[in-house]
Symmetry: C2
Subunit: 324 residues, 2 copies
């Protein structure tokens, strides 16, 4: 079975995915986007994809403060920038402490990162651009027109992300077609296709969340009540050297290498549904990385059914072997 | 593993394939065709798809004789209409006896079927419309325009088929996207999606061909020399009742039923690449079934890699169990 999984991973790369994320220049025709990227489930970066957005020129910190000022926004706080990730010492899946506060104060938490003990990330994956940040909506487009035409529907959710270099998003997948546009700074993606699910050692971890103790800034980790388990990738691609031997299918696969790409301001990453992604970022001279992602409904078709079949093979294998 | 395969088969149907072949009216937009049918690998019948072809009105037997007359064409002869199929008694994979003859004589072999001991099928899957039958080319379109736009290339091959009700095509799959247009009579398709490969009990059979003995009309079966094995579906959906117990995953699957559809004159079946199909036909009042199929290059992408993975699981299973 191991051999068949490695062959699948290799064939997917050799036949259509290649080993790098292709860059294509905007405009992209809907037919080409659908045929060459969505259908094969192949990521690409569309250069110049959002150059026409006024956000690219307007969104200084002063402009954002003036536009949003007292608007309440959701801020995700963590001690180390790692939300929704496995904390090594406890082997728990830990979510951020989410707090609502006026935008001006939230932005300071991102910019004043060095003086603060906690890392702030302005984000909420609930269509927040069109709710909390609706005052900014005229500075961007409501959708990515060629993607909307190709996929046959408007975005299901549009999310804004403002953070700094301390925020890291751990390996996970989403059940959406994702158009990820960077407005300021840059994002670094480490990607694995769905056929590489066996490389990530997905296991059930007990869920926990960070909480703020009264009158204290320090965050503490608390197990969720009632207890619940979350299946999550065990692999952290930046993990300390001594952990690598635990995850040979990721770190010494000899094939099945992850895809790496950097998405700069003005560019859009097409991240196909079900691709695993790990994200880090670098801020612009204003100290922020700003991105907007468009989630479009994915097709739950034969590829999804095939993925479930593969995952059941991986799980069966995992249950029959000791991994560590 | 059996359970996982059945789940895959069920999920593919529940999520996107349904249980029937959808009919859509021409014209079909290239984007819709690509998104709703090619991407999920879902067959459809396009009604009115070739109503504008003059072939539909012109192709009487007299017209065809006048147009083609002495043109040499390839005719496939079999004793019972079954070419490229498993002959029960011998468990061999037997190909037709192929003979080249003037069209007028070939057409008589199809029409005079009852007085002949052998079944004749005018066909050659080598782009024969544009070679042997090029005199007819102005009566049809050179491609299916919306398919060409969607798939991003012209057809790789265009084949003409003229036969009668005795010709049957056994379960097989092609590595092409297939647009199958019926000009006269009707075609009956029995279809299984690629995820149902385990239902067809694909096994290696020794190859043979029919040959004509000198001065005799009777065809005899001869093993190919050098010997070669051909992997082929064991299931004949019309098999005699006593054979059904051999193939429970086809005949008593309780789910994973085959798709049945009839394609009439003027209609086009979109048969997605890698779908297994078994075909019978009924002639028009002129005694012929006439069809033209357009083979477009398929995308060898992640779906193809997934299929290979599934097939390796099926083969592993098959090797470990006795099926009969």
């Amino acid at each position: 079975m191991e051999e068949a999984m490695e062959l699948l991973s290799r064939e997917a790369r050799e036949l259509s995915l290649g080993s790098q994320v292709e860059r294509v220049a905007a405009p992209v025709s809907p037919l080409r986007f659908l045929r060459d990227f969505v259908m094969p489930g192949k990521p690409c970066i569309v250069t110049g994809g959002i150059q026409h957005w006024s956000a690219l020129r307007k969104w200084s910190n002063d402009y954002l403060r003036a536009a949003l000022g007292d608007q309440q926004v959701s801020v995700h706080f963590t001690p180390d920038g790692r939300a929704d990730s496995i904390v090594d010492e406890t082997l728990m899946f830990v979510s951020a402490h989410v707090q609502s506060m006026p935008f001006a104060q939230a932005l300071e938490a991102v910019l004043g990162k060095r003086s603060s003990s906690n890392v702030a990330y302005l984000q909420q994956q609930n269509d927040c651009l069109r709710t909390e940040y609706s005052r900014l909506i005229d500075d961007v487009e409501a959708d990515i027109p060629w993607a909307t035409q190709a996929l046959g529907s408007l975005p299901e959710a549009v999310n804004l992300w403002i953070g700094n270099e301390n925020s890291v998003t751990s390996f996970h997948k989403d059940h959406y077609e994702n158009l990820y546009a960077v407005v300021a700074g840059e994002k670094h993606f480490t990607l694995l296709p769905p056929v590489d699910v066996h490389r990530l050692y997905i296991r059930d971890y007990p869920a926990a969340s960070y909480a703020q103790q009264e009158d204290e800034r320090k965050l503490v980790m608390r197990s969720d009540r009632p207890r619940r388990m979350v299946p999550w990738a065990s692999v952290d691609p930046e993990c300390r050297h001594q952990d690598k031997h635990k995850f040979p299918r990721y770190f010494s696969s000899g094939g099945g290498e992850p895809f790496h790409c950097t998405v700069g301001a003005g560019e859009i990453l097409y991240l196909p549904s079900m691709w695993f992604h790990h994200v880090t970022q670098r801020p612009d001279s204003g100290g922020r990385t700003i991105a907007i992602n468009f989630w479009y409904d994915m097709a739950f078709d034969i590829r999804y059914a095939y993925f479930n079949f593969l995952e059941s093979c991986v799980n069966k294998k995992t249950k029959n072997t000791t991994i560590e």
